[in-house]
Symmetry: C2
């Protein structure tokens, strides 16, 4: 039953991650009619539940008889997702519509395609979703010869050249920070919100200079809280800075003397941009949603 | 009510940590009558509960009228413990009986003393309990000019010279490993037991060579499990090796060309000894219980 108050979607762009689901019913002019956010990420769904999840959210944008193309990126294409969309191996262009996996649906109004992820064999690494954001960056930066940094719980650093992904590295610094902040002996030492630019800056420099001291530097925050009443907000920014300083230093050979595009617009992306600038990099910020939509739109445009 | 089947204790040695409590009622010959293990660590007790905890465990070793000296080290002396035993500041000798804190008890048969911990102001660091093990090592290694490594959840590296503690560094690598193993995206990638010497060795070398890549190396184990079926036991040993390789490298200036005494006899201590040997250090293992008892006995012997 479609709601006549809604304009039918020409096609649907979907970013289906581990914990989140985002849908953009698209209008005739290539502009989203709206964005629908849901918490029905991969981790909460069995394969059989994906179709109904889509139908529940998209019903108002479907017509009773027409077929609508749905282009998905992200963890929906993982082995534990809706249907496995095999990885492309580096070096490669960002996966296109051509290599997408068609998923059969009971409801004939849906025509679902899941884009492939990208894998690297040595050192072993994987991505699902970020490759589509990279395609989105290429839509406006076709000649980019540099590094695309996609910050998150598991941040990706992607070397790109002539429209191809030549290699990439994932860092789980965000997850380490969260674990230390929520579950370690530092859980009462680190504030859970708030920021201190100066402490972050100092942390970045220390992490870059003495990465091997990480486990000592973290315990030192607890000792400084005990002995010197270290401010919890400063402690939080310092711990975060230490981890990002290490990470930026580790990727130095990839970004030195090359342009860096940071995909994101939240606090984490800002922190990465700051850490990169402290390290001496030239950084451009690229909005995450814009990258995802441009990547999914590029795949849609490749449909014959 | 004393149990007449037990020999009364001449004095009692106590190691009162965060999660464990160990008591040794001592015989006339300086040898423990037995060892009593309890889970009544600091984290489970309010200050008012310490005395009764001692009495419950020691009753069989007390006489109805005599006074028995109880010498404690560890977290019982922290601000959240039984009574705060102020820290001595480095450089210093391991705290002696002279600076111990006398704790008043309702039961006059107990005469309780808590040994001080040690603090370092720059960089901020603290220890409680390890200083007593160091005193215990000094009992047989009075001229040691080197490093004492005390492995654990929070490992201490202590520089010693002429019977003094000149400085120390705490690393929470053990806690980081536990967090990654139990709570991170790697919780299904890392086995929770088992060992692989070769993978540990490779991890140590990688961690020493590229400490800044830690967050990438850890995620790489997950990717290698996904793409190459990496064995979970090898993944566990590799992650542990990476963290210990970093730590041993960070302490290289302290141990290079100097003797290293590792206090401990469990798997963690063995792993540290191995990581140190891979790094090129000369290592002697010193039994942990022997160190604690010798340190507490040394303090008892200082009583006037």
């Amino acid at each position: 039953m479609s709601d006549l108050n809604h304009t039918p979607a020409q096609w649907v762009a979907v970013d289906w991650g581990t914990s989140h689901l985002r849908l953009w019913p698209m209008g005739a002019d290539g502009v989203p009619l709206c964005r629908i956010d849901s918490d029905k990420g991969m981790s909460r769904l069995t394969p059989a539940e994906y179709e109904q999840t889509l139908l529940n959210l998209l019903e108002p944008y479907l017509t009773s008889d027409g077929e609508v193309t749905v282009v998905c990126c992200g963890m929906a294409g993982s082995r534990q997702g809706w249907a496995e969309a095999p990885y492309m191996a580096t070096p490669c262009r960002p996966p296109s519509f051509e290599t997408a996996t068609r998923v059969a649906t009971g409801d004939k109004r849906l025509r679902v395609h899941i884009l492939s992820g990208v894998k690297q064999s040595e050192p072993a690494d994987v991505m699902r979703g970020e490759e589509t954001q990279i395609a989105g960056v290429f839509a406006t930066h076709s000649k980019l010869d540099g590094v695309i940094c996609l910050p998150g719980t598991h941040t990706k650093w992607v070397s790109v050249q002539k429209g191809s992904i030549t290699g990439f590295s994932t860092f789980m610094s965000g997850e380490l920070f969260q674990l230390v902040s929520d579950h370690s002996v530092l859980r009462h030492t680190l504030a859970h919100e708030g920021w201190d630019d100066q402490a972050f800056d100092a942390g970045c420099r220390d992490g870059a200079a003495r990465p091997d001291h990480l486990a000592n530097a973290l315990f030192g925050l607890r000792a400084a809280a005990l002995l010197n009443d270290l401010d919890p907000v400063a402690a939080r920014a310092r711990a975060s800075g230490y981890l990002l300083g290490m990470e930026v230093a580790a990727m130095r050979d990839a970004w030195r003397g090359r342009p860096v595009v940071v995909v994101g617009d939240n606090a984490i992306a800002q922190a990465y941009a700051t850490a990169l600038k402290i390290g001496g990099a030239t950084v451009e910020i690229f909005e995450a949603e814009k990258a995802t939509l441009a990547g999914l739109s590029a795949a849609r445009a490749q449909m014959k």
